[in-house]
Structure formats: C-alpha cells, structure tokens
Subunit: 383 residues, 2 copies
Amino acid sequence: MLNFSLHNPTKIYFGKGEVKVLRDELRARAKKILIVTGSGSVKKNGIFDDVIEQVKNAGCEYVELTGIHPNPRLEEVSEGMKICRSENVDFILPVGGGSVIDAAKAIAVGAKYSGDVWDFFDGTMEPENAVPVGAVLTLSATGTEMNSNSVISKEDTKRKLALSTPLIQPVFSILDPVYTFTVNKFHTAAGVADIMAHVFEYYLNPLRDTEIQDTVAEALLKICIRFGKVVCMKPDDYNARANIMWASTLALNGTVGKGKISDWTCHAIEHEISAIYDISHGAGLAMILPGFMKVVLEKYGPEKFTAYGNNVWGIEGESTASESIDRTKKFFGSIELPTSLKESDISDEYFDLIANNVVQVRGKSDIFTQLNKQDILKVLHLS
Amino acid sequence: MLNFSLHNPTKIYFGKGEVKVLRDELRARAKKILIVTGSGSVKKNGIFDDVIEQVKNAGCEYVELTGIHPNPRLEEVSEGMKICRSENVDFILPVGGGSVIDAAKAIAVGAKYSGDVWDFFDGTMEPENAVPVGAVLTLSATGTEMNSNSVISKEDTKRKLALSTPLIQPVFSILDPVYTFTVNKFHTAAGVADIMAHVFEYYLNPLRDTEIQDTVAEALLKICIRFGKVVCMKPDDYNARANIMWASTLALNGTVGKGKISDWTCHAIEHEISAIYDISHGAGLAMILPGFMKVVLEKYGPEKFTAYGNNVWGIEGESTASESIDRTKKFFGSIELPTSLKESDISDEYFDLIANNVVQVRGKSDIFTQLNKQDILKVLHLS
C-alpha cells in the first residue's frame, strides 16, 4: 500500500427531503448566490423550486447562470465568472449533475483570478483562492459532489482537461435519491458506467498489497451491477437510486483510491473523444472500457481480471479473466449503452490525434498502465 | 436506507514515516502541547522520540501526561484537565491506542468546562468548547482516530460511558503501520475483534435497503479475517498491518454505518463487564459476540447471518446462519482470544447488575435489537 493523505471535509446530506438543510447552510455562509443549472430540467421537475424556497428562507439574494452543457465549456465558465464579479457573488450553488457542478467549481476559481481560467486546467498556474461552492446533486455519476476535481472542455482547441484543488471541494452536497427519479434511462445508464469506470481506474492497477481498497472496490462494482439494471428499468425505485447515488460518491471520494496509484488512461481517451464528438461521458466510457481492459489484460496478465471475475461476477475457471471483460461489455449492453464507437458514428478519422493527445495529457501524472500511442490506438480499434 | 449526514474532516496521514508531517501540522496550530501516552511502550520502541523530534522541529513547548490505562479512568482525565489549565495548553497530542486517544478527547472537553467532565458522558450536559486534538495512532482497533467518540470509565461507580461530539474529532491522525509492529499478539488480536465488532454493530441490523453499506461491511470483515491471522503470526508484516490499520479506521468513520441504525448492545454489554473486571475491550467483545449473535439469530431470523455466511465465509447450505456464528467464534479462538467468560474467570456474580445497566444505558439511543434484560442475561449465559 502506498502512503497517502486523505482529507475530505465535504458535508454530505443524504436522503429524501434533505434540501431543507439548504436554509441553514446558506444562511451561515452566503449573502448573494450564483445558482448554476443545466438544460432546464430542474425547472420542470420542481427541484429548482425546492431550492429557491430554501434560498429565500435563508434570506439570500441570487443570480442565475443556466444552460450549462454536458462536457461544460470554457465560455460558459467565463460567463459565470463575469456574473460573480459584477454581482459580488459570495457563494456558488450548482443544482444539477456532474457537468453543472464541475462548471461551478471552475467558475469558483476563475472568479478570483485575473488571468485566463484555462491556465489552471492546462497546468500553467495554480489557483490560490476560490468562491465557496455547495452542491445539489441530480445525477449519480461523476462523484464530483465529494471531491476536489473539475473537468472542462475548450471548444476551439477540442481539449477537455481536469483540475484538482481542495479550493473547489464543495463545502456541502445534498444527495436526494428522489432528485434522480426523472433522469432518463440513457443518462441513468451512462452514470452507472461512469461510476464503474472510476472504480476500475484504481482497481485494475496491478499493484499488490492493496487488498482492502480492492475488496471495497469489488463491493461497489457489485452494487453497480445489481442496482444498475434496476434504476434503468424502475426509475422511481428509491432504494436502487439510493444505492447507486451513494456508490457514485464512494467511488471517487478517496475510499477506494487512497493508497493506490490510479490510472485515468481510460478517462483520458474518453475525454479526447468527447472533446471532438461531444458524446455523453458515461456512454463514451462504456464503449472504451472493454477494449481498454483487453489491452491491459494483454500487457499485465490475468491476475486482476481473474479476481474481478471471481469476486464480482462469481465466475471460475481458466477463461475467467477474458470472460470478466465480456461480462462487463454485456452488462453495458443490457442497460442499453452503446458498446462500440461505430454505434455512435465515430470512425477512425481522429484516432491518431486522440492517441497523441492522450499520451501528452497523461504524461503529467502517475499512471500504472504506461500505455503508449500504439496501445491506445489498439484500444480505439478494439472499441 | 435512512437519511443521514456525514461530515468527517479529520485529515489522515497514512503510511511509513508519516510522523514527519507533525512538524507542519503542529507549527500551524500549537504553541504548548499536552502529549498523552499510556503504559510507556512508546518510550521504549522509539515512537515517542520520533514525535518529540517533530514537536521540537515545530518550535512547540510540551508537557506530558503518562500512564493512561486501558479503559481510561476519569481521574486520569481530570489530571490531564488540570495540566491543560495550569500550563495553558492549546493542543492535545495523544500518542497511543484507543484508550490514550479517548482519554485525550475527554481531556479536550473537560479542560474547557468548569464542572465535572463526567456530565458529558452521563448526558447531563452538552460540551460547547474543546482544546483541539491530533493523534498518533499505535494500535489498530477502536477507530477513534477518525471519529467523534470517546469512552471513559468511572471507577467508583463501575460505569463506562461514551461521549460523541464533533468537538473532539481529531483534526489530524497519523497512521503508520510500522508503529503497530511492536503490539503483542494478544492486543493485536483483541484489536481485530474490536474492528469486526464495530462492523457487526451496523451489519447485523435486519433493516433492508442498505445493500451498499452491507456489501462494504462484508469487504471489511473479509479483510479482518484474511489479515487478522497474519498480523498475529507475523507482527512486522507491513502489508497485513496496513490492511488492518485502514480497516480499523473505515469500520467506524461513517463508511459502513451511515444510512443504517446501529446497535451497540454488544459494546454496551462489554463496557459493563470491563468496567467491573477491567479486561481488554477487544477480548471482551470476542467473548460476547458469538452469544450475542445467537440471540439475535433467534429473535430476528437467519437472513443477515445467511448473507454473512455466504458472502464473508463462502459457505452455503441450510445451516449457513448458525455455522457463520461458529466460524466467527473459531476465528477468535484461532487468533488466541478467549472465547468464553469462564476463560477470563468471569462468573455469573454480576450478570444481573450488568444486564440492568445495559438496558438502562442503551435505552438512550436508537437501537435495532431491542434486547430486553432477559435477552441480555441469555447472551451472558451463552458467553
């Protein structure tokens, strides 16, 4: 096990009706709030009204930034930064899924910086200050509700990069499984694939001596498989939504990752694809993961995949390793996610560019797979 | 799943040599430190010297309170409170196991209170202020390193009670598995039993719809069983010590408990026994747990025990529920813990007093088993 530090001060409020805590949380820390939302679904399903009621109860003023896209864009972030400055915003409250929260996090550091906020994402500068952020989550997927990460896309250069700093960690996050009832089948399924991909980015690391992290990771994968189908078939099943929602948080709040080297090559490949094609992140991961697994199996041997097959899928025998990958792909198919790039009309046109960008981005951080450009091209062709 | 809030701001530094972070952590927050230790083993094995080096590097002064007993006593806490006041202590640094850290936590609230600190433990008063605490852990067991609990004994009335308040949550805890290498076989084994007992206090709850908590709980139990034997046989096995150390923290930091009703009847029984006989807490739990499980099985049916047998012990068949209890008892025996009260020379002399006290203490909090006095007497006779 590697040495690690873990500090996760986000306060979680989990369960039906927990939006009520917003009043006291906001009253204690905010005068003027920027509320960030996405395509407008929260205004149709009543969630926005619930939030506004508490904002008013707290005696806070608010301004709005709406229309954040999936794969949130730099210009949307810039718009939010301008509002923060002109309106003297002292708290940012995203109400939405991972994209809305990630945009809010980027706005939080950008609003306190006179330069280009992209500097923080491409690593040119380190942020030093941020407007505090608290979140109301409406989609189980990215885990951003309890970590210090944000991922933003830059349209003109077709890049999608991540920033990680404690400054943007939400001070609180409200997780009400009922708020995910209206998420459609496709985005629900894509969220499940995203959660599983986060676990895999740690779990597949061939580093040994991390049995506790790996056994907990297997527990989360079992929950995703068991309840992933249920949430797609019965969108208003509270228990299934609750299990998936808490899995999304535990998958990326340090519980399964601390003490291991993570990889993020699979995420990096997907980021490059969705920067070009603007596909849903979780669906992109579902397409890439089985091909990625095959290349990792070939390079690093069957040990981890055999354990995955035994402990998560309950399969035994000589072909367990490769069968565990087939089962993963079939599972994604069973919740109606695309299982090949072709299904999403993605040809090999940009494969070379994608592979180049992945190697370049990924080179900056600790990784275990050390996939080279040829390996990444192989992943893409297998997908 | 029940609604819950989770806020765990303790900063964890995990791994070999992490004591080095003490310098900056102390420099940032302390001028005069009360260092709390136990029987003196940290002065023999070099851990105390490591700590003092960093205290000096931080430029802090320090005073000492030594000799904290297992099942720490109120008079030891009072002594620490006096030192804090007379020496203007602004930070408390326990270096030891759960008893030392729990004593430090009690001192932290007591030092800021003009009345009797026991008021906080018997529920007469709520603490409002505390001296900050940071911990250097040397025994994997209680989980106190990352939670807001403290348990103290009062000798004259033979009572052992718990306090829970965010005020005493350590601001940081240093977890170096090497620091547990010198723990002897008995206390190592007792620690493993304690960790497992914490998991069971949540896991055995027959409440359904908590699959994610229960699957993660099973993961921790598997780790305890797998590495519990190793740490007893090979005390300097870093990986085994690391797995057990992180399991001790995860067992009681909210990961497996939030969203469930916990019980703590088994702990309450053990507290009453060790308040009278001053036995090791973990050993007491090992003696009580199988009997407690048998009574719970009888009252609430086999469902949870069958799942436990299937998923943790890998056993199937009609008698899985009762066999899972037998396996648990055998496991405790295999790591040379006492498996009956008789082995520790505990007769039925105080059974009636113990059962009365348990019902009285336990009545204050949410519990699932609702064991009455007769049930508790049955647990005692089965143990």
